[in-house]
């Protein structure tokens, strides 16, 4: 596989610079060294907890097979909490209950207490045992199906796939008990369960591998699941428990997050299901447990979570259609790590630092001015900084010069255009979908939103509630770009709620609490939108129904008070109301991802409890700040760009070299397709910097106004105004082989993933001798040849890298130019070599 780091660098000594980017920063080493000397040993937490807590506080065992997992938590003086379940002894006061391995089991009806003793502390937990003389048959919907999920039978890759596997089909994670009842009992010519010899049922012999099973061994005889399935079959494989109360809520303790600090690396979980009839049931061993990062967390059959190494991960607990996650942070002392005192510009740094300190990750130092300038220009405008601008910036001594550049860029036309381009990518703004100039109209609307810094709630509302002729109402094109109702529901959820609800079209979402009901409720918001040609209207009637239950669904979010009102208005109001769980968080996360190449929640449109944010407090605070600022998008960008976190070096140290998710160093990434095309154009001298464009534009406008009948002047003005020469600044994208090779999206999906950043051979070929590069190089000769060597080198370096050349570089280039017999050719070679350096191709 070809990748960027393996590229042969045409300017060999330039490789040193890039190496430096990825190497140890001497300044940082110094500060770290000093703090190591100052290090004091942390006060060891005392082993006696201040307070002991037992969960659940009261144990109810209301049937023969009931069992309740007890979880004992110690609260220590230093604020730590620790699982003491395995350190505790449990002594029941009466024979009605017994405790084995921290789990309470009923023996006979009655009341009792369990004395829980940890060290010298004892707590008494009341116990009530009842129903021990009543039958307690296995429940199909709440037990059998849970077991099939726990053992993976109904997973999407196995029998839960739409076609099933090996002729045996189950509903995905048991979302449709009727399908499962039929498949298990009467389907397959009744071969899967055997009431006369339950242990010989194929449903047991297969997962036990008593007979060949393509899926392999999925069940052991000692598993609780085996017992449940066997007993269920022995009791007649009854599936008619549809009247039984459904599970309405899942409570996972402890939640929603926990810190495991070495050497106390384990935590027992308790999972309790609440049913519609008010009863509860401990389903700890029935639920399906998955961990997001297997190298960080493991989980045992008895649901004991163990931290394996430093890091963060989520433990997802699925029971029937419910899913809850507990986020674990695993910390351990890293030898030699001492947190230094670091400057913090704003709360961004505070939150990032708090997380880094907790996980003992040392942030990198600050990047230099040249790197910062190039970075912030690329991020905010998509363009390289003009050479003169870079030179002036490097010479500038004002302390707030970085802030000033950020402010300046935020007010630029280029910012509005570049950021609108990235937004338009997700809204399918392409001329094929939106012909007759509507794509341009919609793009201009998005640009204007950034240009005027229109509050984002207003922008979103305008888009989501647009009606009318789309050649006049730009935002109405949103509905025309996503023609199908389901598509509209999915796109809206993905764009504004950061959620991929697509799965829920056919079945409840496998990894999240999105249900089919939610899906069709979102669709209900838009079901009354009608499209006739280019005109979007809203009718007063129209409903969506749940595909299986047939129930008419009320629109998602907030229903309108008037049954005939445009449902989109109530939905937009609900969505953009401060405190909405999605809106602000999704947008600030997208903003963050544009500036760091990775979201706090990653991927940016996959918000779910099993995919937690890397730094939850950071995301929350940014969202709150966004809401407080009146959804001021520029303010969020300003906050982030001014932070130390944004201005970090890409160089790593030994305490953060493994970090890829916590923003302890600035991530290196390839220029995007559009950035690359414009950067090559600018470096080769064939694109004027936009600052000069403004003057040219003013002149062209004047000329055009003066000569309204001069077609040439009109066209020149139009071309300049639409900035068609700039891939990062155009209203609608040019689809060129070069841009497509570098992953420019076709704008056919609302997923940010449509933009591809993987390296390909095509990219290498485009850069080596693609037509675009060749064309630009031809121009480069004329642009630079007029300068004397020293100035030429400096100009070129400032344009390409925003920095002055080193002495060695000056010398080498001067030699190269001197040696050559044909100066234009030598120039072309030089520029070609420069644009093929990693320093040029990467944002760092």
């Amino acid at each position: 596989m070809w990748n960027w780091s393996q590229r042969v660098d045409p300017l060999a000594e330039r490789a040193d610079h890039i190496k430096a980017i990825a190497a140890f920063d001497p300044n940082e080493a110094h500060s770290m060294f000093c703090t190591i000397l100052l290090a004091a040993t942390l006060a060891a937490p005392t082993d006696v907890p201040n307070r002991v807590e037992v969960y659940p506080p009261k144990v109810t065992l209301a049937s023969k097979r009931a069992a309740v997992q007890l979880v004992v938590t110690g609260h220590f003086a230093n604020g730590e909490t620790r699982d003491l379940t395995r350190d505790a002894t449990f002594t029941p006061s009466a024979e009605s209950v017994e405790v084995r391995g921290g789990v309470a089991f009923p023996k006979k009806d009655g009341k009792a207490e369990i004395a829980v003793k940890v060290g010298e502390q004892t707590l008494k937990i009341p116990v009530e045992v009842s129903g021990q003389t009543n039958p307690d048959p296995i429940r199909f919907r709440t037990e059998t199906l849970a077991v099939l999920t726990r053992h993976g039978c109904n997973a999407g890759s196995c029998h839960g796939s739409p076609e099933g596997k090996g002729g045996f089909r189950l509903s995905l994670f048991g979302y449709d008990p009727l399908i499962d009842a039929e498949s298990l009992v009467r389907g397959g010519l009744n071969r899967r369960v055997d009431a006369f010899s339950p242990a010989d049922s194929l449903a047991l012999k297969k997962p036990l591998m008593r007979v060949p099973h393509i899926g392999g061994k999925k069940l052991n005889k000692t598993d609780l699941g085996y017992r449940v399935l066997l007993d269920w079959i022995a009791e007649g494989a009854k599936t008619n428990d549809e009247k039984q109360a459904a599970c309405v809520k899942l409570v996972v303790y402890p939640g929603p997050s926990r810190i495991l600090r070495s050497p106390h690396m384990s935590q027992q979980l308790s999972v309790i299901a609440n049913f519609a009839d008010g009863t509860t049931r401990d389903v700890t061993t029935l639920a399906t447990i998955e961990v997001s990062h297997k190298e960080i967390l493991s989980v045992s059959d008895s649901v004991l979570v163990t931290g394996l190494k430093r890091g963060q991960g989520a433990v997802s607990v699925r029971y029937l259609n419910h899913l809850e996650s507990v986020h674990f942070t695993v910390t351990e002392d890293v030898p030699g790590f001492v947190w230094p005192s670091l400057p913090e510009t704003n709360f961004v740094d505070q939150h990032v630092h708090a997380k880094l300190k907790q996980l003992q990750v040392m942030p990198s130092g600050s990047c230099d001015d040249a790197t910062f300038l190039r970075r912030v220009y690329l991020d905010l405008t998509g363009l390289l900084p003009p050479g003169e601008k870079a030179k002036a910036f490097l010479a500038e001594t004002a302390k707030d010069k970085r802030s000033k550049v950020i402010d300046e860029l935020l007010e630029s036309e280029e910012f509005a255009r570049y950021w609108a381009l990235r937004t338009a990518d997700l809204l399918r703004v392409n001329a094929k979908t939106l012909p007759e100039g509507r794509a341009e109209l919609f793009a201009e609307f998005l640009i204007d939103g950034y240009r005027k810094n229109t509050p984002f709630d207003k922008v979103a509302t305008e888009i989501l509630t647009a009606s009318g002729d789309a050649t006049k109402v730009p935002a109405a094109n949103y509905f025309l770009a996503t023609p199908v109702l389901e598509d509209l529901a999915e796109t809206t959820a993905q764009l504004f709620m950061g959620s991929r609800v697509n799965c829920a079209k056919c079945h409840n979402h496998p990894f999240e609490n999105w249900t089919q009901e939610d899906y069709y409720s979102i669709a209900a918001v838009f079901v009354r939108v009608k499209k006739a040609g280019k005109v979007v209207t809203v009718t007063p009637t129209g409903e969506t129904k749940h595909p299986t239950s047939g129930k008419t669904l009320s629109p998602f979010g907030a229903g309108a008070t008037d049954a005939k009102a445009d449902r989109r208005i109530a939905f937009a109001a609900w969505l953009t109301k401060p405190g909405n769980p999605f809106f602000a968080r999704v947008e600030v996360n997208r903003t963050w991802a544009r500036l760091f190449g990775r979201g706090i929640v990653h991927p940016v449109d996959d918000f779910r409890s099993s995919n937690p944010p890397a730094i939850p407090d950071l995301l929350d605070s940014l969202a709150v700040e966004f809401e407080k600022s009146g959804f001021d998008r520029k303010q969020v960008v300003r906050l982030i760009c001014n932070s130390q976190t944004y201005q970090r070096s890409t160089a790593t140290n030994k305490f953060n070299e493994e970090d890829e998710a916590l923003f302890s160093h600035y991530p290196i990434r390839r220029l995007t397709a559009e950035q690359m095309q414009d950067a090559i154009g600018y470096t080769a001298g064939s694109l004027v910097p936009p600052s000069e464009l403004t003057i040219a534009l003013a002149k062209a406008e004047k000329d055009a106004t003066a000569a309204p009948n001069d077609k040439g002047k009109q066209a020149a003005f139009k071309k300049l105004r639409a900035r068609t020469e700039y891939a990062t600044q155009r209203l609608t994208p040019e689809q060129s082989p070069f841009l497509m090779a570098f992953g420019q999206p076709k704008r056919e999906s609302p997923c940010a993933c449509e933009r591809i950043d993987e390296p390909t051979v095509d990219q290498a070929l485009q850069l080596l001798n693609g037509p675009l590069v060749n064309g630009r190089l031809t121009g480069a000769a004329g642009e630079y040849a007029k300068f004397a060597d020293a100035e030429l080198i400096e100009r070129l370096w400032l344009a390409a890298f925003s920095r002055m050349p080193t002495e060695a570089e000056r010398k080498k280039v001067a030699e190269h130019l001197k040696r050559s017999e044909n100066r234009p050719d030598a120039m072309r070679d030089l520029v070609w070599a420069i644009i093929n350096t990693r320093e040029f191709l990467l944002q760092h």
């Binding site: 010519l189 071969r191 055997d194 006369f196 049922s201 591998m209 007979v211 060949p212």
Partner: protein, 469 residues
Amino acid sequence: MNRLLIALLAMLVPTSVRAADPAFLPDVAPVMVSRCVSCHGGTKARGEYKLNTFENLLKPGASDAKPVVPGKPEESELYRRLVATDPKERMPPGDDPLTAEEIAVVKRWIAAGGKFDGTDPVASLKSILPPRKHPAAPEKYPTPAPVCAIAFSPDGKELTVGGVNEVTIWDATNGKLLRRLPKQPARIHSLAYSTDGKKILLGGGTVGEYGEAALIDATNGNRERVFGPFDDLVLSVAFSPDGKSIAAGSADRTARSYRIADGTEVWRSSLHNDWVTAVAYSHGGKWLATSSKDRTVKVLDAATGKLFTTYNGHRRQFSPHVGQLEVYAVAFDSTGTAYSVGAGLAVRAWNPVKAHDENGSAADMEERFKNVGHTRYLEYKGERPSFGLVVGGGQVFSAGGDKVVRQHDAASGKLVREYAGHADWIYSLAVHPATERIASGAFDGEVRICDTKTGDLVVSFKAAPGLAK
């Protein structure tokens, strides 16, 4: 059973007076097949060790330890792994150990030299096992067993029903239990009477592991001939019209023909990609049609098993009756028309010769079929597949998950009648044109016999001997 008992005794008595040594095929192989081969069999054999054939059984796996060291059980990996105390070593993992008797048999077989008593060391063990001996039927049924097979005796007086490890015979007029024919396979999926009524042919087995067809005495249940074994249930059996052969279709995807006289396998067809759900001879015995869950019906030359044609009418892209539908049953009438049914909402009536003539790989085949109107559709309404299909007296009966028996007139294709009354899925049908009776058996154990002239119920009963009411 007897040998196991001997083996058990052998453990208790001094070796000098030990009874006959166990033999591989009758004593060791069945244990290997039922407990070991599923993991140590195919291409993904665990530990690179296979014992699906005797030859493979002797080859060491990844550990290089010799499985069988003749005369030295303690040095034999095959034995050592059965008695290892480390749960990671002990086979089968995560499951019950072999019984003490089974382990003792393996040990003694190795001690006696580990010899092979078969003829073909590369044959799959499963295929060379002796026919299984079946346990007795439950004395009293604790719960009704699904009725997957029923058949009328030639005189129409008796109805035979597939039970659990038995065949039960009931009076077709009043539903009284006449006799029980025990020690048959655990499940019986197909039943057929010989024309003289003296013999019953059954198909069945143990789900997922074993199948057989057996010719039994209709009076006392003596197992006169066992055809097989199959690797999975036999789902359908049929006598050839000349009474000299039988055909059987199995969930192991094969259809096979056996000669009754000596029990030899005449041919075996492995053309289907899924269960062979039904087999049916054409009236004169020229063809054998085999239906399958693979959505096709194949018409084979009954004498040779060679493919004559494949009927694809259950996977249509052109209306009507578009779909990819499993086929569960096939039957012929006396005019040579074949009828087949499964998922979908119609019995397909078609002619094998026409199907052959019009078949081919041409891309327009489907459309041509549609235009020619080659298949007639005997339509009905419903939601679930049909499993049963019988033809008699010019009438076509079908039934399945929709709990009704449907009667179509074969000539006109019209739906004549629907027999309601079953409370559960119907798995089996039998028709007796002479006495004008249609019988149906359901998941809940209920058998209903109705008059095909009037549609009235004649008798219904739960085919579950000793069931507590």
